[in-house]
Structures are given as structure tokens and as C-alpha cells.
């Protein structure tokens, strides 16, 4: 229990550090948020008015205290450019990003884990000689390139999938759930999720394979072999289960990292997600929106880390008592 509390306190400290860095980073960055507001006749008074409206005329420490207090209350502020609450802007993009990221990651990890485990048993075979370089090449290829290839083949040439967006033009739905669960949405999801999965599968595949190779030489595997267990049972029940621990960590971290790093896939497929929003917010110096988006991503990452730590502690008691 004290381990869990210690981890929770640690996570809260990291969260505070992140929000503080976020606050300072955007304010110390060169660039004036008013630069994007330029109107040929916007007077000095009008500029002052806009500064006052967003509290930019207050001293930095005051802005910081207000920012922290708002955050504690769940208020992420008002976007400079959208002129609406940051949460409202983020929540329109968050479901699309979560669905794309989770679908891509799940496909990548299921494929990576199974193929990695299988490859570990195929040392020195043709399968290894073909699949490992292929996985590495796909991992190393730029996402936009993979995306454009898939678009060219499956959208432009065969017309099997749409070329972009999350829904067909003008499609109407009764609710957000109705939209997300529609066949149209699923069809739009296929190519971006596949691109993401192709890009992400290399890590779980290679990690699983190398961990499996180590474990397959452990004494308890030799013992299992002596006991006369079938190779399948040894691979899946004994080796693969143990090899999953680092892959599980990679999944949790990958989810957090991919959540905010989908800019390329989102741009290639015109997918209305958090990544594009984040880039636009940073380039416009829309502090509240950029901070809010980074905060959300950090929060997800920290929570996932916490969960992984706790689960690790439960799976392997040496971690919690170490």
C-alpha cells in the first residue's frame, strides 16, 4: 500500500513539474501571440484590450497562480484564437485521436507479439531472414511515405477506402457515438490505423523476439523441456508470458507517446485529431490550447506509467520491495 501511495505522490510531483514547465516554456518562447492577430488597423488600445482579456498584461507569477488554480478546478482556460474553452476544443479532437491511436497500437502489438514470439522459435530460418529486415524497414520508413503509398493504392487506384477525413462529406449522425460506431467512420479509420500499425509494429516484434530468445535459454525453460512439455506450451505458457513484461511497458509508454505524435498520419489522412490541433496551437502561440493539449497528453502518459508501475509491482514483487 505504501508503495502505491509513494508512486501516486511521485506521479503528482511529475504532473506539477510538467504543468510548470509547460507554463514557462510557452511564455519564455520567442513570439508574441498578438503577431497572429495583425489587422492593418488594430489600434494600440485594441491590442491592449486583447492582452487584458487573456490576462497577458499581468505579471508572470500572477499568470502562473491563476493558471494553477484554474487547472486544479479543471479549467484549462480559453483558446486565444478559437475564443472558446480549451476543453471544448480538445474534446472534439480527443475521441478521434484515442480511437486512431488505440486501434493502431492494438493491431501493431497483437501482430508484433505473435510474430515476435513465433520468430524466436525460428532462429536461422528463411522466415527470420525475410521478416526481421522487413519489420525493420517498415519501422524505419517515414510514416508519411507509408501513408501515401497506402492512399495511392487503396484510395486513389482501387477506390476501396476514402481519401481522407473521419466521415464522408456532409454525413449526419444523431450523436457522437452514432458517428464513431458507423461503418463510414470505420472505413475512414482503416488506412490511417494501418499506417500507424505498420509504423509501430517493429518495436513489439523485435522486443518480443529478443526477450523470448533470452528467456528460451533460461533454466526454467530447460526444466520445462525436461518435464516433457510440448514446444507450443513452453513457448506460449512459459516463455511468452514472461517476455510480455517489457512489451507491456512499451505499450503503455507507446500509447502516451503516440497520442500526441500522430501529426504526420493525421495530416496525410486529414484525420481530425489532437496532433494537428497541437501543431497549429504551438505555431500560433495559442498558449492555453497548446498547454491544454500537452497537459492532456502528459496526464495520460503519467496515469499509464502509474498503472504500469503498480501492475509491475503486483506481477513482480521484487519491483515494489526493491
Amino acid at each position: 500500500m505504501s508503495f502505491a501511495l509513494r508512486r501516486l505522490a511521485h506521479s503528482l510531483f511529475v504532473l506539477w513539474a510538467v504543468v510548470t514547465i509547460l507554463f514557462l516554456m510557452f511564455r519564455l518562447m520567442p513570439g508574441n501571440p498578438l503577431a497572429a492577430y495583425i489587422n492593418e488597423q488594430l489600434s494600440e488600445d485594441d491590442q491592449r484590450l486583447i492582452m487584458a482579456q487573456f490576462g497577458l498584461n499581468r505579471p508572470l507569477y500572477e499568470q502562473y497562480v491563476i493558471y494553477l488554480w484554474n487547472l486544479v478546478q479543471g479549467n484549462l482556460g480559453m483558446s486565444f484564437f478559437r475564443r472558446e474553452p480549451v476543453w471544448d476544443v480538445l474534446k472534439s479532437a480527443l475521441p478521434n485521436t484515442l480511437i486512431l491511436t488505440i486501434t493502431g497500437l492494438v493491431i501493431a502489438y497483437i501482430f508484433g507479439i505473435l510474430t515476435g514470439a513465433w520468430l524466436a522459435t525460428k532462429r536461422g530460418t528463411l522466415a527470420e531472414a525475410v521478416i526481421v529486415p522487413a519489420a525493420l524497414a517498415t519501422r524505419a520508413a517515414p510514416e508519411f511515405w507509408i501513408g501515401m503509398i497506402l492512399l495511392t493504392i487503396f484510395a486513389f487506384t482501387f477506390g476501396w477506402f476514402p481519401s481522407g477525413g473521419a466521415n464522408s462529406a456532409g454525413a449526419a449522425y444523431t450523436s457522437e457515438w452514432d458517428r464513431i460506431l458507423s461503418r463510414d467512420y470505420a472505413l475512414h479509420l482503416v488506412l490511417p490505423a494501418l499506417t500507424l500499425a505498420l509504423y509501430l509494429q517493429g518495436l513489439p516484434l523485435l522486443l518480443m523476439r529478443s526477450t523470448m530468445l533470452e528467456i528460451l535459454h533460461d533454466e526454467f525453460i530447460t526444466m520445462a523441456k525436461i518435464k516433457g512439455l510440448s514446444p507450443w506450451r513452453i513457448t506460449i505458457h512459459h516463455a511468452a508470458r514472461n517476455a510480455l513484461l517489457p512489451v507491456a511497458t512499451a505499450f503503455a509508454l507507446g500509447l502516451g507517446a503516440t497520442l500526441g505524435g500522430n501529426v504526420v498520419v493525421e495530416t496525410v489522412f486529414s484525420w481530425p485529431g489532437l496532433g494537428r490541433l497541437l501543431v497549429a496551437a504551438v505555431s500560433q502561440s495559442d498558449y492555453p490550447l497548446a498547454q491544454g493539449a500537452f497537459f492532456l497528453i502528459s496526464l495520460v502518459l503519467i496515469i499509464l506509467n502509474l498503472i504500469v508501475d503498480l501492475v509491475y509491482g503486483w506481477l513482480d514483487p521484487r519491483v515494489s520491495h526493491g
Binding site: 484564437f81 472534439s92 484510395a155 477506390g159 489522412f269 490541433l277
Partner: protein
Amino acid sequence: MSRSFSRRQALIITGATTLLSTTALTPLAFAQAAGDPVRKIVLITDTQGAAPQAYQAGQLIAQAWKQLGLDVEARPMARQAQTDLVWFNRDKWDTTMWRMVGRPERSDPDEMTFNLFHSSTAPRGFNFVGYNSPEYDKVAEQQRQTVDPAARQNLIKQAQQIVSRDAPYAFLVHPNTLQAFNQNVFDPASIVVQKGVGIRNFWTFIGATPKGTQKAMIINSGTALQAIHPLYIAGAPDSWMNELIWDRLVRIGPDGLPRPWAAESFKFVDDKTVDVVIRGDMTFHDGKPVTIDDVIFSFEAPLTTDKSPMFKPFVTDIDRIEKTGERAMRIHLKRINAAFATTALGRVFIVPKHVWEPHLKSVEGKPDTLESIRDPMNVGSGPFRQVRARLNEEVVIERHAGHWAAPKVDRVVLRVIPNAEAVVGMVRSGEINLLSEYGGDPDVLEKLSKDNPAIKLTQVTDVGIEFMAFNNRRPPFDDPVFRSALSAAIDRNVLIQAAWNGYAVESVTHVSPAIAFWHSTDVKAPATGIALAKSILEKAGYKVEGGRLRYPPGKKETLQPPG
């Protein structure tokens, strides 16, 4: 006081000057030591990703200037950082690539003439280069106060000549706007090409006639929208939607001239009084009639309060507004403004008073403005009503059947597609049927049109300009001869071919040939060439020593290169 020379006189003067400089002045120049070497010049460009054409042009220009003996650093900057430096730190940069984008309201030359170069806008406004010419100021002021079109045309042309002579900028190109539509979906005769703007314009949106069962117009934008709002100016695609949802008293016609719209008529009673009569058959999207009180409220909200700061500049010339009838009002101006119809009547949106007056009261005494208030229904009186807006993804507006000029299409769907290649695929597959903007390779689009006869390509010269702005405050750019020489070193044809792939025309003045009535054909493209640029510099006393260009004798370098 303005001077004008005939070509013959100019040649005589140039010849005499050349003779003098080579006979009398040259020995004197030889007698004196050359001035200090010109410091390193920093040329700011856009980043390659953000504006590949401008970036490429900047690189080519830097190479040309190096041939004059200048140490030039072409420094790419993100747009925001570039704007921040150029706009808010006016004495801390040398020269920068810049652009004025084409907008329908820029079809009137006032903004380009007055705001860009009048000295009053130098400290904070659009004259960020700090050009200061009392002669020019006078002409720019006169054109604003001259209501007679022929007399004003003359003044606008004079202004172009002065700018051409003084070279506060090196004008580069007017880009060509490349767009396309599917002529199997829309009757080509119903697609309107607006001068300087192209086919994505108000008149196409209301006039495009579907040929078959496809009744929706599907257009694209490369960037997400920020806000659909009648009192807030955000990005370009936002304004496309705004002007369809909210009506204006006046709209800029396909010819670039203002024409009555929600105003049945507007008339200058005298130089400073305008009578406006509105139409009697207008309704808002919620069914309520549009009254003269709504129109007066729409102008008075930015005029009499500080709650609509972005629209305030459009009404600054208004002194007061008086209701003179059930459908009539009289606008009293503080000063004469020849472009009033375009810059005020053609800019302010008519908003429903019954929706916005309570909002205005709710922000009284608070730092908030109307810009952060949302009307979820976005009630306007324009030819389209909003159906839904997912600003990162798609906006859908539908035909307002009760409008007196109801559109022919049922709906307009604006899709946010940042990938230019995907846009081409979508045009081919019919997922987009009017390509409203395109940032990709023009040849790809040309090929698409050749392979698919249904895809009709259109190309117009933009009202906007791409130019190299010189910081007129900082030596050596404070010297018009130096600026002219640098301008002469730039081969515009090379830029057009190498940077704009041939999709641009040479720019010689700040008034685009797209608005032919105001464009001066008397101002010719200056001769260019490195040899010519060198000779201009030499005649003014600049000298190359040890491969470095030096100031004229006695001139010290007082500045450091921008950090």
C-alpha cells in the same frame, strides 16, 4: 508637390547625370577613400515547408545580391516569429520576404495605397518598412478624399509611380490562383470567376447550378477553421463561411467593384453623408425580419463600444448613424472616404439585434468582448444557414430558401484537407467537386485536368503581391538608390519559373493588374541584371573592394547585423 517627366526628359536627365558622374564626379570619388564595408545583410524568408515558393525566391535573391559584393544570409523563419520580428521590432531587421494576400475588399486600391506606404502607419500599422515621403502621403490622402473615380484613378496611378521611383519594396510577383471544378456536376456557365480572387467567391456559391442529382457543393480548405462568428476575424476559410451566413449591405462584385446587396441603394448625399435604404424582403434564419434597427445595431456595436475590436477599424470614419425611415438610415462621416462603400458597408456583417444585444449587455463592465460569445445557431440573414460546424474537420451550411437571392445548390460542405496530394485524389474521385485552394504541384493538377475532361481548371492573377520588403529605417536600405540597385539585381522571370513554376506574373506596383482600372500601365517593369545593379551602385559611390561592397566615401557602418 508631384513631378512628372516624359520619357525623353528622363533620358536626357539620366544621360546628363551619367556624363556628370563619369567626368566631374569620378575623379572626386577616386580622390576619397571608400566608406566602410556594408555589414552582413540578413534576408528573412519563410520556411520551406510553410511557403516553398517564397523560400526558393529568397534563396535566389540572396545569391543575386552576393554577386554585388554583399555578405547576405538568407534566414528562414517560422511565420509567427517572422511576423513578431518584422511587426513588433521594426528597427531590428534588414529585409524580408512578405506578402499581401488577395481579398475581395482589396479590389479597392485604398488599403494597398494608404495603409502600406502612408507615414502615419509606419510606427504601428502596415507601413512596417518605415517608408516616409511627404509627397506620397499627400497623394495617398487625396485619393481617399476624391470621390470622382477618374480623378481618383489618376491619383492612384501617381502613387504607383512614386513608389516605383522610391522602391521601398522590390515587387516580385502576383501569384496565379489555381482552382478547379467538376463540370459534370456544375454548369460551367454558372461558375463565376472573380477578378483577383478566382472561382471560390460569393457569386459562385450562390450562382453555381447543379446539372444532375449531386446538389451539394463540396469544397476544401488546407487549414482548420477557428471560429464562425460575425464579429471576429479569424482565418481565410472562416471568412468564406461567414460571408455566406451573414449578409452585408454591399458586396464586391465579380468586377471588383462594390454593388448594393442588403442595401437596396446607397447614395452619397454629400462628401460626408451617405443615405442607405435596405431591402424589405430579408429574414434572419430564425424567421424574424431584418430591420433597419438590426443594421444600425450591427454598425453601432463596434462604433460605440469596445466590445467588437476587430470590426472597429471598419467604422472609424463614421461619426453617427441616424434612422430616417422604416428601411432607411443616414450615415454621417467624420471625414471623406472614397472607399467607404468597400471598406465599411462591404465589411460589416448584419447581425440580429435580438440575439446580440443581450450578449452585448452581458459583457458590459467586463474585460470580455463579443468575440468570445458564441451563438450556437449562428443566426444570420445570408443565403446559407449553418447546419453544423466541426472546425477541425467539416462545416456544413444549407440553402436559406427564404433568401431573396437563394442559392441553387442545396448545401455547401467545407472539408478540412491538409494533404495537397489527397486533395487531388479527392477531386478525381468526386469527394471534392470544387477545388477552392491548392498548395501542391501545379503540374499534377494540369495532368489531372487533361486525364479527366470533367475537371475544369481555372487560373487567375491574384490581387495579392509577393515582395521583398526593405527596412527603410536602417542604412543602407534608407538609400533609395541602394534599394533600386538591389531590386534591379533580381531577375523576376527566373523567380517566376524557378520558384513559382510559371504560375505567377511579374509585379511592378502595389496595385495588381487584376484590378485593371486602378493598375498603372505607365509604370513599366524595371530593367534588371547584375551588371545594371552594379553600375547603379557605382554611380552612387558604392564600391567593391576585396570582394566586399563598401559604402560611398565618408559613410560609416553604424549597425550590427540583426541577431
